[in-house]
Amino acid sequence: MALSDSVPATPSRLKGYEWLIGFSGKEANWFWKWKFRTTDRKVRFDPDQYGWPWFPGTVSWVVPTSFSILALKQAPCTCGLFEPIRLRLERGTKMLLDRACPSGGWNAGNGVVYGAPLAPHPDDTAVALLALTAQKDLPLVRQSLRYLEGTASRLRAPASLAWAVLALAAHQRPVNSLQSRLSAFAELRHIEDTGTLAAVCLALECRGSLSMLGIHS
């Protein structure tokens, strides 16, 4: 995504797209698909809908799948990978919808375990919503947006609030007051984690950031 405007980087980007297309959660394999469908039903999910894992040799999770979707959506039409990208985007999107929490929103990727629903997390929900801007009319997406809007106004942690600002802006929700709260956090000066710092910077310069993520309002 960071290289999307760089023409000299095109060969590297193509390699990256090819790698993403070939990389998937372990449940993409027929054996694990069969296991999750028959003997291992403790976590409720559809193993036919897979996305991307955090780490090779593990199953798909919400955040890496969302970022992979955002990256693949920015592949140039001329890259020659249109069909495999379309298939992975479709499957990844279905995986996100399948892994949502029953009350709306997302956590790391386990909506129901041993029949009990788990609660959503604001940052995971925000990242998933960024990947699902094209599905904004689905009831699940609208329900998740309501959850995030309700939660964001109470958030006191910069990283979660920053991702919430980006997601809400991507879905055309007002974010001015949230941005003001974010910039007023006293501890911003003391953030040591570059990931949090980057998210805060992106959230405070929303329009340009969404464009960088391939999201155009």
């Binding site: 955090w54 593990t58 790391a108 997390h121 942690a157 979660s160 984690d193």
Partner: protein
């Protein structure tokens, strides 16, 4: 003769196949036998989280010949997520009390370190759980193990087959590491206590949220490999209000009224399991770690403080772990 030789070969092959199937080799999978001759465990009774906790802990620590003078003490609580009214995390009052106790005992520094496994936003967990305010007021430093400086380390046991892990420098350089688990049942591992608590040392920034590689390599096996590599020097387990049933997040609070202190994580976990009315030898990581990391048998554990009394009703478990009940 030919028959007996064939029987021998078939027998050995059968044993080997059995071991391969069960995933456990006949040969030791650990490098060092670190078991002390005897271990010491103290059970303290306290029915509620209150200001008495500090006084109680101070008294409990005098039951151990501890010397933390001029040592960097790292407290590793179980700080997973936050849900109002749920007994998910090690209570912040116990963690603050432990920090104050170790300061009084002359520690060079005391910090709290954790890398939550489900929540990427550690700051959010700290805020929501109340830790942030308490740690700030008591001027206790917090270190996010999910984002610490990392070192690639060869594991000192090979149950999981991982051989190497990237681990936080803070944990590898801790001069006195205190595991502070919440006593809980766990739907994937049976129980989560001082040794499972060390999963929090595996950095999310390298392995993701959750640290799914540990599940795929085997939870019991990963516990053994991590605890062989990052030695726990002391345990303070929060069983004042524990969790039973579908833990670690969705179980029910269970008032147990106990704090367990120990100088050996294996002895600590075995004792906690007994206090839960479960059988430690049926938990694979405790059974296996008693071969090289510590002691689980009551005959080689010096029980001090309150007596070990099993509850009349064992902790509730999800069906997959019901065999742990005594």
């Amino acid at each position: 003769m030919r028959n007996s030789r064939r029987e021998f070969v078939v027998g050995v092959a059968g044993l080997g196949a059995g071991e391969i199937i069960s995933g456990w080799s006949l040969f030791p999978k650990y490098q060092h036998d670190r078991r002390p001759k005897r271990s010491r465990v103290a059970i303290l009774n306290l029915n509620a989280y209150s200001e008495k906790i500090g006084e109680m802990l101070d008294r409990g620590l005098t039951l151990f010949p501890l010397d933390v003078r001029n040592k960097a003490v790292v407290l590793k609580p179980n700080l997973v997520d936050y849900a109002p009214g749920q007994a998910i995390n090690t209570h912040h009052l116990l963690v603050v009390a432990a920090a104050e106790s170790f300061r009084r005992l002359g520690a060079k520094s005391v910090c709290v370190a954790e890398g939550p496994g489900h929540q990427r936003d550690t700051q959010l967990v700290l805020e929501e759980s109340g830790y942030e305010r308490w740690l700030r007021e008591q001027r206790i430093r917090f270190l996010d193990l999910n984002r610490d400086h990392l070192r690639r380390i060869r594991l000192e046991a090979n149950y999981s087959g991982m051989k190497y892990l990237w681990l936080p420098r803070t944990m590898l350089e801790a001069e006195f590491l205190v595991s502070m688990p919440k006593m809980k049942t766990h739907h994937w591992s049976g129980v989560t206590l001082s040794m499972k608590n060390m999963f929090g040392t595996v950095p999310g920034i390298r392995y993701g949220w959750p640290k799914n590689i540990l599940h795929w390599r085997g939870i019991q096996e990963s516990i053994l490999d991590i605890c062989a590599t990052v030695p726990v020097h002391f345990v303070i387990a929060d069983g004042i209000v524990a969790m039973e049933g579908n833990g670690p997040l969705q179980g029910s609070p269970r008032s147990l009224g106990k704090i367990v202190l120990a100088d050996d994580p294996v002895a600590a976990d075995a004792t906690c399991v007994r206090l839960m009315g479960l059988e430690p030898r049926r938990i694979r990581y405790i059974y296996e770690s008693a071969k090289f990391l510590g002691n689980s048998a009551t005959r080689i554990i010096d029980q001090v403080g309150e007596p070990l009394v099993r509850p009349q009703t064992s902790f509730q478990l999800v069906p997959a772990w019901s065999h742990l009940r005594t």
